[in-house]
């Protein structure tokens, strides 16, 4: 078993940018680890560069040509004598080939994340679905293997319609997905069995062109669902994985991008649900851990669920990485009575080989956390990003508030155009849902975010959208 002192020999390369890079370097400092950070030319004024130099000195910051060029990362890692790589989220976080290269290159490094085999296994939609079914975990009704035969596809579609009618669904809809697709590409819905053939043809053609693969998945389309998550953590010693409760991420923008995340996933103490919400939370938590154990999960991860209006949960996918919204779960948690849980630090610790050191019963969850993603965008106009210069960004330091941002508070900041438009994450905590909502709105009200673009137009942000949505979080 690795002791904390042994861990301190490590140096972590942070293969990411923005707020997550800052959170990772802070976690490293907390653990007494050295780190090295990267930046690209458009990011040179990002706060993560300032922080890297502040926390680690000049030699802990390297300029690279692109965050997406793995060779660049390894070249820097070798030169800086890093021993481990933290991928953050996005970029290489769920790329099993990258994780494999980290582990198999001549100068081996540690990938802070699940093993590459686990990433490959759970990164594959079909594999994940089949693993779930094997363990009796509920999945979206439909096929669980790639369908290539047209007749078979049609038969599945037909019985899916019948199935939904039997379940009392008024207007059944099915989805045809390219089995090699992802990220919303190559998906179409079918409301009428007669149109199935033409949709199938279209998806197959698309898939053949795009992925050299003709097979499809056919699934029931579930409407008006809530999007829930279970935060899972496991170490590399083979001990049972633990969880840090659930989150509800149902407030999203048009393009299915999360805007507010709340922990826990439902609040039956204050809100009425049409189903046994407590049981749903317990069920999905248990299912997630069951799968994590079976898959030999060995780092941090999130099981994503959709819950239908009648309270039926279906497993959607597994994110084999740290997520943006990990902080909101950490905010309501305590380990052995200690508050101030840092899931990123925990991830690094177990990633470097340390044992978890606590069991499920040592983890307590208390109160409600709300995380707002503050973004310069126009919620009234398709959430189009706003580009320009931020002139002031400030907020009162409330005791119940945690902020994560790469936007400097003390100087102006040009929003880079090459990345996701997140500016800041604000996590608000309250003893009850009601208190959390009130504090959330108080914070949003007190937040200043001003700026203008080159044509002199004022900054547009989603703050009012977030305020509006605060009243109804966890209502289902």
């Amino acid at each position: 078993m690795k002791t904390t002192n042994e861990l301190k020999k490590h140096k972590v390369l942070i293969a990411n940018r923005g707020e997550i890079a800052i959170r990772i370097m802070e976690a490293c400092c907390k653990l007494g680890l050295k780190f090295v950070a990267l930046f690209t030319a458009p990011d040179q004024h990002s706060e993560h560069c300032v922080m890297a130099q502040k926390l680690g000195g000049d030699e802990s910051l390297y300029r690279v040509s692109s965050y997406l060029d793995a060779n660049e990362i390894f070249a820097v890692a070798d030169h800086a004598k890093a021993t481990a790589i933290h991928p953050g989220y996005g970029f290489f976080a769920e790329d099993y080939r990258f994780a494999r290269r980290v582990a198999q290159r001549e100068r081996k490094l540690i990938f802070i994340g699940p093993s590459w085999q686990v990433i490959r296994e759970l990164g594959d939609k079909i594999n994940t679905k089949r693993l779930a079914r094997k363990l009796g975990v509920p999945t979206v009704p439909g096929s669980d293997k790639p369908v290539t035969d047209d007749l078979e596809a049609e038969n599945i579609a037909k019985s899916l319609f019948d199935f939904q009618k039997e379940q009392g669904v008024g207007n059944p809809v099915i989805l045809v997905k390219a089995s090699a697709g992802g990220g919303g590409m190559g998906i179409e819905e079918v409301t009428d069995l007669d149109k199935f053939r033409s949709v199938l043809r279209r998806i197959k053609n698309y898939s053949k062109r795009q992925f050299r693969d003709e097979s499809v998945l056919i699934e029931q389309r579930i409407f008006d669902f809530n999007h829930l998550e279970v935060q899972v953590l496991a170490d590399r010693t083979g001990m049972s994985p633990v969880h840090f409760g659930t989150r509800n991420c149902s407030v999203q923008s048009l393009g299915r991008q999360k805007r507010i995340e709340v922990a826990p996933g439902f609040d039956p103490t204050s809100t009425r649900y049409a189903f046994d919400a407590q049981k749903v939370l317990e069920d999905i938590t248990e299912y997630s851990l069951r799968m994590a154990k079976e898959a030999g999960y060995d780092n941090i991860g999130t099981w994503e669920w959709i819950v239908s209006p009648t309270g039926q949960p279906f497993l959607m996918e597994v994110n084999t990485r740290i997520q943006v919204e990990n902080g909101v779960s950490a905010r309501i948690a305590s380990i052995k009575g200690q508050k101030g849980v840092d899931l990123i630090a925990e991830q690094i610790r177990v990633g470097l080989g340390a044992a978890l050191g606590y069991a499920q019963e040592d983890i307590c969850l208390e109160g409600v956390g709300i995380e707002y993603r503050i973004i310069a965008e126009d919620p009234d106009n398709k959430f189009i990003p706003w580009v320009g210069r931020i002139t002031s960004f400030d907020w009162p330091d409330f005791p119940w508030l945690t902020m994560h941002t790469q936007v400097p508070r003390d100087r102006e900041y040009e929003i880079p155009t090459d990345f996701d438009p997140n500016l800041a994450l604000a996590i608000v905590w309250g003893q009850t849902l009601e208190e959390a909502r009130i504090r959330g709105k108080e914070f949003l009200h007190a937040l200043t975010l001003c700026g203008e673009n080159a044509s002199g137009e004022a900054l547009k942000s989603n703050i009012s959208f977030l305020e509006r949505k605060s009243d109804t979080v966890l209502v289902f």
Binding site: T40, A41, P42, Y62, R63, V64, S65, D69, N71, E72, F74, A75, V76, H79, I384, P385, V387, T417, D418, F419, D420, P421, N453, A454
Partner: protein, 216 residues
Amino acid sequence: MVDVKTLLQELREEPYEKIVIRAPHAGTVEFVSSTPGTRVVGPSGTWKEKPGTLLIRLEREKNKKPIYAPQKGEIMALADLKPGEFVQAGQELMTIRHYLTREEVIGRILRQSLFLFLAPEKGRYYFIPDVDIKIKTKGSQSVAVEEGLELFILSRMKRETAIRYTGPSGIIYAIYFDTNDSVERESPLIGVCPEDQLGQIQEVVSRVQSDWEEQD
């Protein structure tokens, strides 16, 4: 009409362009042409298929990549680096003094006389596919533009928006941006020559052709 004579005079006083060779990515360097004053040449051949003078080898992940001279010129200075020293992306490695060619002189003068369509926003720009194909096959001067024509795609924040051309009708005489780079707001994207000025522009061109002596 621009004062070609004065412009040419100005250029004659400073007929060089300083080309800075930067590390395209991290790696260890090895200088091949390492004496200041060495003459180098740019790519040649009918299709520019022969690379220019080999200047530097940059090795990253056991992959040695050659860096060639992009233009004809003379090595001015080298970065103070030991053989095999590690450099980061974007680090300055070498500077080359390049004597302006006729084409470049024409380009510089035209930049002052053409109508420049400026980038309305910061971001990456692409020509719309139709125009792109036309430019790639027949050259930019085959493309006529007019007010309101959908000409560019602006890509930023992972979203794409179409940009319409505003300005006088004419043909695209010069392109000033590279699809791989982010364009700052208000930097010129294209230079358009209004049809009625085509004659004058050609005059500038022939004037430079005869007046500007190229140097080796």
